[in-house]
Every structure is written in C-alpha cells, then in structure tokens.
Amino acid sequence: MIRREFLKIIGQLGIGAYGLSIPGCGNADKAVQQKYLTFEVKYPQTEWTMGVIDPNIGGAFKIMSWESAFQFKKWNRIIDTFFKLYYPNIKVQIDWGVSFGNYNTKLPVLLAGGSPPDLVWMHDTRAKAFSSIGLLQKLDPFIEKFNPKGWPEEYYPTQIESFQYKNYQYGFPYDYATGGLYVNLEMYKDIDEELPNENWTFDDLLRVGKKLTKGNKQFGLNLGNEANVGYQYWIIRSFGGDWFNKELTESKFNLPETIAAYQWISDLRWKHKVAPMPEVTQGRPQPFVDGVVAIDFNLGAPQFGDLLEDKFDWTIAPTPRGESGRFQFVGGSALSIPQKATHKHIAFELIRYMLSNPENLEIIGGMGRMFVSRMSMYKYGLPKGKLATKMSNFKHVFYDLARQDGVVVPYIQKYQEWDDICRRNLELLYFGEERSSKKVCLRLHDATSRWLEKLNS
C-alpha cells in the first residue's frame, strides 16, 4: 500500500515538472535571440561575408531541404565551396530528400521541439502560415545590412510579395513557376485554327477545345483539377471574381463573377465535355504526355519537355485573357531562416552567396527545374537543344507574360485550414455531384465567412 502511494507521488511530481518544462523552453530561447541579433563588424570583411561572425567559429550548421537526390548534387557543391572558403571549422549537416509532403510536417516538429535547422526551404503556400506565428526570422535587418545584389529590382514583384507578411520579408525567393498551355500540334493541325495567344478570350479557347474533342479518346482542353485549387485562381480573377477582398477579411465567393468563373470551369468537364473526367486523370498525373488531352494547362518548366521528348509534335502557348484583364499563375519557393536558428548571420550570408552570385545562378538556373528568381538570369533557365525549337516562345510565355500579368494566389494567413474548407466544397463541383456552381460557391461563401470571423476575432 505504502509503495503504491509513494509511486503515485513520484508520478505526480514528475508529471508536474514535465508539464512546466514545455512553456519554459520557449522563454529561454527568446533571451538568447535578443542578445544575438547584432551587426557589429568585428572581423575582416570578404566578398561574401560581412565580418560579423568569427571565421574560425565551430559547431554545426544545419540545412533542411525537400530537393531530391538528383537535384541536390549541385546545391551541395555551392554550399561546400562557401563553407570551405569562409567558415572552414563549421560542420555542415544537410537533411535533404525530405519529400515535400513530409517536409511540412517535419519542419514544425523541429521548430516546436527546439531543434531547428539554420536554413530551410520555404514554399509560398506555407510562407504566411509559418511567418504569422513567428516561426521565421524577419529578413529585413539582414537585407538592410548585407545588401544582396540586385535586391529588389532584379526580383519578380510577385515573388517578393509571396514571402512577405505584414510588410516584412520572411523568405528570399530562389525559384518560381508559372503556368502556360501545352498544345499537341498533331491534334491541332487537324483543325483549321491559329495557336492560342495572350489576347484570346476564354470563349475562343473553348471553341477550339470543342473542335479538338473526340468523344472519350481525346479531350480538347484541360485547365486543371481539384488537386490544387490555387492553380485556377487566375481564371477566377480573369472573370472579375476573387476569393477574398484585398485585406483578406471578407469572402468574395458570393460575387456573381466568382460564381460564373467556377461555373465555366465546371462546364468544361460536365457540360461541354472538353475536359477529361476525373476517372481519366485519376492515377495518371500527365494526361497530356499520354496523348489524351490536346491543350493542357501546366507549370512551365523545361523538365516537362524532357518527359515529352519526341512523343509527338507539340509547343507552348499563353493562357487567355478574361473580361477583367489578363492574369497568369505564379508560384515559387524561397530560402528562409527559422526564428530559433543558431547561426542566423551565416545563414543569410549563405543565402546571399547562393542566390546573388551570378556564377551560382548559372548552375542553379541550368538545372532547369523552375525559373530563377533573378530577371537578368532568365537565359540560364531557357530550354536547350531540341526543346529550344519546340518552345521558341519560352521567354515570352513564361518570363515576360509572368512578369507582366503574374498574380499571386492569396495564401491567406491560415491557408491550409481554409484550403480544407475550400476543397471540401469544391470537390463536389469537380467530381460532378453538383453541377451548379452557384450552390457550391454560396455554401463556400458561408463557410469561409464564418471561418474568417473566427480568425479575425
């Protein structure tokens, strides 16, 4: 009996001590950071370091990235060079190949558990979520002191905006992606039409799509699906609609323009039957490559061309313009520094070295996955060889038009939570169980309004 009592008391003490320790660990770190963020130049400056940190400093520098095995080899070289030149005693630990889906789970755990990396990859869909709860370091003091080359004129405005929250910069853009139309020329030459250009209307595109559709074997026009609602934001804006108002405090899903836009998207699939049914695209990530779709909306990147190779004759074309103007999808990634990182100055110097150094940009741009965020570096992201002839208008479609008409998806502060609400409603439309976008949009409007109320209260 006594033993049991004894155990109970120990248990309670232990639990109490443990419970108190969770809040405790946050406060200790804050004290360390406030002391740390100074910019006293104590050491000799070099081309890529500001002399704030002792070049002989030791310890570990941790990086986390979602880049996969094949993409990361080139980053490795650049990072190794930097540390060998400037901080030879630092041990670099790179955790790469954390696949994108798991990345967004692992990062909060590391940040919450008090063991954050010093440099992290950040995606535009999560930037506001992470920065609004204070998990990321404001980069403005660093930018001011360290003066990265070409900032901000050389960077696409949409990229800079994507990684800002309340007018502070939380990510340094390193790549971006934009959307365009891929056209199957072999199917296209059967109909007597010109290729789409940026002055076409949505009706023009639909007309051509209808001509290109042959029952269930060939679909004329695929403008995206339920998997990523952000990829269709440009269509909503083109029709004059929107998701939220400018301040992100009200839902705009009840606007007739928004409803009309979603109806148009739904009709492509269920009324005009020019877009493939879900069962056609299910389990098949690239219907265009399989030759099932004649005109396909996809992110522009030379690598997509690699997939197509010589399968059939194809080219690219710009997306159309709507009644309210022309809008083009842009998205991208950046490099960020966690708020609780240990080596913040070194992290920023590394960012500057990786992304401001034209030599490095040649290497990264040449990887050709997405486009480099520096305007003058576009030529390193252009397709080469055979792809260059197939995509001779690459610069026009993907660089010039993106800069001109790019629109940032409003990744509102708690975007993931809203995305779930949005998806749960829109999926009915995409899967054809609801044919009236008005019903769906109004339901979504109610749900969004209620959610925004809770958010802003």
Binding site: G14, I15, Y18, G19, I22, P23, G24, G26, N27, N104, T105, P108, V109, L111, A112, A129, I133, G134, L135, N216, E226, M277, P278, E279, V280, Q282, G283, Q339, K414, Q416, E417, D420, R423, R424, N425, E427, L428, F431, E433
Partner: protein
Amino acid sequence: MKIKIHRPKYFQKEEIAGLCFLSPNLIGFLIFSFLPITASIFLTFTEWNLATSPRFVGFENYVNIIDDELFWKYLWNTFYYAIGTIPATVMLSFFLAYLLNRKIHGIVFFRTLFFSPSITLLVAIAIVWSWLYNADFGLFNFILGTLGIDGPRWLQSTTWAMPAIIIMGIWKGTGYSMLIFLAGLQNIPEQYYEAADIDGANWWQKITHVTIPLISSTTFFVLVTTMIGAIQGFDQFYIMTRGGPAGETTTLVYYIFQNAFEWFKMGYAATIALMLFAIILVVTLFQWRFANKWVYDEGGS
C-alpha cells in the same frame, strides 16, 4: 473445503517475481508511452501553435469539439470504417488461418501469398487499387458491367469512396490477423481434436466446440487490435483519397493530423485524440468485461 491462505504483509515471492519480470517493460512504458501521453493530456487544456509557449485555455477545446461539425462527421466516418472492416477482417482471417493450418502441400507458399499485402509498399497498393476502382477501365466496374450494372465512381463518389477503402482495408488487414490466428491455432493440442473424434464429432462441431473456444484469447486480441487499428487508420486515407471527396473519407486520426501539423492547433488536436481515446477505451472495456464470459482461459485468472 476452502483453505484460507494467510498472506503476510510483505510481498510474496510471486508478487516480487511478477514485478521483476515486468520491470524492463514497465520502465520503457513509463518513459516512452506514459509520459508523452500525460503531456498530451496537459496540451488539451492549452492552445499551442508550436511557435510560442502553450497558452492555458481551460476547457475551451472541449467546448469547441461539441460545436465542431467536422468532428462529428469524421467520428461517423471512423465508425463506418471500423464497422465495415472489423467483422469481415476477423472472420476472413480466421477462415484463412484455419485453411492454412491444415496439412496440405505448398503451405508456406500460400501463407506467403496471403501475407503479401502486408509487405507491399503502400504506394504500390494505392496505384493498383486506384486502377481497380477506376470508373473507366477499372476491373471492378468491368465485372459489374458484364453483369449489366453501371458501376459507381468509387473513389470519386461521395457515397462509394468509403466502401471502396473498406474493401481495400479488409484486403490489407487480413494477412496480419491471419498470422496471429495461425499462431493461436498451433497452440491447440491435438489431443482435444482426437477426443472429439472419439466422441463422433463432425468437422463443424469440431470447429465450434474445440477450435473456437480454445483460441478465444487470441480472438480477443485480434478483435481489440483490429478495432484499434481500424479506428486509428490514417495512411490509406491519406494516400488513396486525401480524405476526400468532400471529406467523406476523413477519419478522426486524419483530422488530428491536420490540426496538429497543418493548422498548428496542437491543443485542439490533443483534445480530439483524447476523445478518440476515451471512445476506444469504453469499447475495449466493454469487450474486456464481455470477454471474461467467453474467453476460455486455460489457467484461470
């Protein structure tokens, strides 16, 4: 005549032995299971976004659950999945284990065959089953078509998505339980069957009067673990349908995951987990009480 055993105040040898045997297990349990769980219980009274320190909010999370229509919807989904998979898995795995317990040729081959779903990569399972369920060229709709039935949209239909995953869940879970039943069946001494034969029992009577009672403790295990596994199912929903369409295949554990790691509402996630735990506990306690009646314990506890 009942002999009263006098138990001295200090611990008897059996009790000491019991605690010693249990101690390595118990220490691990306390540090790596009990401690995190009690911490989680603390979290239910807080709001924690993983960045700042947890903020004490009292019972707010619990109150919010009552109002949360998603919680109740996902609770229903979880039960739907559990009721769909548990009886079928238990019966099917027992049936297969029974067959695989017989002396026939190629027994190792067949056992490996039935175990293969458990060792197949989830990605591969998802791909193949997506094909099977494809409304266009999938095998299931093809078969239904030959019978003159217009097959449903399966994974893209709000009504049929969950049944589709249930079928896949039964397929995947049978291998595990089959193996456990197999171990349990091995435990039955031949002598019991021989005695039954002497008494003139046919095969059905042998099953109901010898086999089933003697593997009842194993059956209890399979029931409880299948239930816990079904209620905690996550991977298959994440990979096959992402919880869709329209949230019809989202279970409570998926919802917990979303709250904790996508929406940074750790306190609320912990509360949902506690609710889930309470439900499972009640069901298990019920099974436990009930089990004392039908589980045949060779030693008697």
